[in-house]
Amino acid sequence: MLVETPDGLFCPAGDFFIDPWNPVGRAVITHAHGDHARHGSAAYLCAAPGAGLLRRRLGPDAQIESAPYGQRLRLGGVTVSFHPAGHVLGSAQIRVEGEDGVWVAAGDYKRAADPTCAPFEPVPCDTFITESTFGLPIYRWDATGSVIADIFGWWQSNAGEGRSSVLFCYTIGKAQRVLAELARHTDASVFVHGMMLPMIEAYRDEGVSLLPVKPATDQPRGTSFAGELILAPLPARGTPWMRRLGTHSDAFASGLMRVRGVRRQRAFDRGFVLSDHADWPALLQSINDAGASRVLATHGHAEPLARFLQEQGREAGVIRTAWEGEGAEE
């Protein structure tokens, strides 16, 4: 029902692509991250809570339609519906039902609770396309509460020593999740890099409650950031923009930080293991929950996950992606 093409995953019966990496006619989008929502297609379709984010990514001229979670749409010869994936705001598993049964393309997803988006909902199907960004048994996330407590503790201890705390995180999803979770510890404002503001606004538009933020970019010259927490996207690291922040400790919030060598290679002071992707047990859990007779893995460690499933007696394979960098989260 879904086939691999040079432009991405294609549904011939419905004449649409899922998360295509080249411009196509109709693109059905799982979520608004850059490796899933690309510019240039004629028409886009996504889950309703994610429409705001997608609009901000694709610009005012893109033709975007959306549907609430669970609503069934007829596209050509198939029925399509969106179901919460728990990855970021508006992220969706795409269920496609046709003559060949039911397929679910889960996109990126996680099972841990996240106050900024609807929780993952298992969708029974015949073929389940799962992500495998962290598809190895070394990836297992600690409880979100303890990671957030560590982030807060790091911020406070830096503040005690007169340093600012720069936390690098992805602009869509991770930044907002941190802002929502930190509200359990404080009601202080947090500085954010200017690039993050529109995406934070998109979350607020959907009624997500976040700590108050201030742009770190428009402050008058000489503003002291000592003791403050600043959220910034990774590309800002090492740019002249950082100079204004003064003496600081830097950290990265990502599942990649689970591996000591990766954190050391990137030379962050701290690495907080906080991911919007499923860890190994959550992948296996979700594959079980889907009850599919066939599983296809994509992104990251797809080969090992597929082989592991095969050895467990499942029919499993791999779907290639244009995004080969291991652990590309955005």
Binding site: L136, P137, I138, Y139, R140, L256, R258, V259, R260, G261, V262, R263, R264, Q265, A267, F268, D269, R270, G271, P281, H301, P304, R307, F308, E311, E324, G325, E326, G327
Partner: protein
């Protein structure tokens, strides 16, 4: 153990040297002396002899988790560290309710060291029971200790600074007390912190003074007459210590190598007592140095020392005198130390390293070009007025090395690095042409910038022809200029040669793979190396 694991974590979760030193100083102030003694042992990079092979940990991890072996290997290629891979995977086991936590000294003394005498079955029973109540961090540290691979991002210099800071002692005092052989006990740790000067252990060498590579133009050093120039030998840097009639030879890695070189010991019996020499152990025949690979045969052998001593004779090329008549003379100017040295050396195996004298830097640069034919690596430049310092202090001692051998070779295999490069494909194998085929000649890991590494990593992932486990066979497209320090015949390598310290000098994006060197060209380098 918990306190030590926390210290490890504190050191590991900062890139600031001061924060690392502060964390260690706090630990040394708080921990019981018996634990602190072991902490010094491990932090300074000393290891328990590998008690268990990583393979055992691997097998027990499989048994404990029910995971297939290959997925642990696949994980290892991402993590780049066996103990860490196991600790991360073992995270799926619940932590068994904790009994009374055990201090580090008891962990080592009562548990870890007792592994030596156990049969494999008991080892497995014990270790898997030990790790049950530990959290991930402590499991990781335990596995590191029992595989003898504990490494942490501090140098001995930093540990010395932390100890000095904890007790408010001079750095040099602590540094001297940490040299040589010692056993990590509570008493030893107490003596380390003593404010009185104790009888220095008879065998103890001084901290080595190290030279820095000369990066500026040599003319910036001022008048050549202010400098003492020597050849830079390609051997093993060592201190020869004679005190109380006993003779000890210490390598720069602070390993005792006395028994490997009986001819040096024999010659040292003619030295006056209370003398410490700094020099280079060098394979030497017919008045010229042999390549380092010859010396390696002397290091590798435990047995047949006498037989090897005939096959590969060595000398101790002496360039400094640190102690005379039992008196520490490191603060005298080098020129005076050299004078005293010459009067001391008996003829024969203990040779004075000759001083190279020329009037101008231009003339010295000219002499330096003879390095390769003389079998040396270049010149050492030491300020005549310099004291013998501690560690690598820039300004007084420089090494002015010659350019290494270079070839152009094609990237043929890549695999993930270890440690902090574990998620990147950074370990490359290069080939040169032999009858239309690329034959591997060298492996290299260093020399590229982080941006180039990232670019190469992306390229390799998209152009992998074939995978053998973690090793990727890539399309032969990229040419690199490789530099290396030495070249020798080798029957263990397919190309029949082995190169020493290979590294990437340049990514030759301007060259096509057909333009890379041939095996014949490389063999010619070998011939010119052996003729010398």
């Amino acid at each position: 153990m918990n306190r030590f694991a926390k210290l490890y974590d504190a050191i590991d979760s900062t890139t600031s040297t001061n924060a690392k030193v502060a964390a260690m100083a706090r630990y040394f102030g708080e921990a019981p002396p018996a634990d602190a003694a072991w902490a010094v042992f491990f932090l300074t990079g000393r290891r328990l002899k590998r008690l268990l092979p990583y393979a055992a940990i691997h097998d027990w991890t499989i048994a404990a988790t029910g995971l297939p072996s290959w997925i642990i290997e696949e994980s290892y290629s991402v993590v780049g560290d066996g103990a860490e891979t196991a600790a991360l995977v073992l995270d799926q086991l619940a932590i068994v309710e904790n009994t009374a936590p055990l201090p580090l000294a008891a962990w080592v003394g009562d548990r870890i060291l007792s592994l030596r005498t156990m049969d494999p079955h008991t080892q497995r029973e014990r270790v898997t029971a030990w790790w049950a109540p530990l959290d991930r961090l402590q499991r990781f540290v335990l596995l590191k200790l029992i595989t003898g691979e504990f490494r942490v991002g501090v140098s001995q210099t930093l540990v010395v600074r932390a100890l000095a800071q904890a007790w408010d002692l001079p750095v040099a005092t602590v540094a001297a007390r940490l040299m040589g052989d010692w056993t990590p006990t509570a008493d030893w740790f107490a003596s380390l912190s003593s404010s009185e000067s104790t009888d220095v252990d008879q065998s103890r060498p001084y901290p080595f003074f190290l030279a820095s590579p000369l990066e500026e133009d040599v003319s910036t050093l001022g008048d050549p007459a202010d400098w003492i120039l020597e050849w830079k030998w390609d051997g093993i840097r060592a201190q020869l210590v004679k005190r109380g009639g006993a003779i000890h030879l210490w390598s720069r890695g602070e390993e005792l190598i006395t028994h490997r070189f009986p001819e040096i010991v024999a010659a040292a019996t003619h030295l006056p007592d209370g003398a410490v020499l700094d020099g280079e152990v060098l394979a030497f025949r017919d008045d010229r140095p042999l390549p380092f690979s010859a010396l390696q045969q002397r290091i590798g052998r435990q047995k047949q020392v006498a037989q090897m001593a005939r096959a590969v004779p060595v000398v101790f090329m002496t360039y400094d005198l640190l102690e005379k008549d039992g008196e520490d003379i490191r603060n005298l100017p080098l020129s005076e130390r050299r004078e005293r040295l010459i009067g001391l050396l008996p003829p024969g195996v203990l040779r004075p390293s000759p001083i190279v004298v020329e009037g101008s830097w231009e003339a010295l640069a000219e002499v330096r070009t003879e390095s390769r034919t003389r079998g040396v690596e270049g010149l050492m430049l030491k300020r005549a007025s310099s004291a013998y310092g501690v560690g690598r202090k820039r300004g007084d001692w420089w090494k002015w090395k010659i350019e290494p051998y270079t070839i152009d070779a094609v990237l043929i295999y890549a695999q993930p690095g270890s440690g902090k490069r574990a998620s990147l494909l950074t370990d490359y194998t290069f080939g040169v042409w032999d009858q239309g085929e690329l034959v591997p000649v060298a492996k290299a890991y260093s020399g590229l910038s982080n941006e180039e590494i990232a670019e190469m990593d992306r390229w390799i992932r998209r152009h992998t022809v074939e995978r053998f486990g973690p090793v990727r066979h890539v399309e032969p497209v990229h040419v690199f200029e490789l530099g290396f320090e030495g070249i020798a015949r080798s029957s263990r390598h397919r190309a029949g040669i082995a190169v020493r310290f290979p590294r990437m000098l340049r990514w030759r994006k301007d060259k096509r793979p057909e333009e890379a060197d041939t095996l014949e060209n490389v063999r010619r380098l070998l011939e010119s190396a052996t003729e010398r």
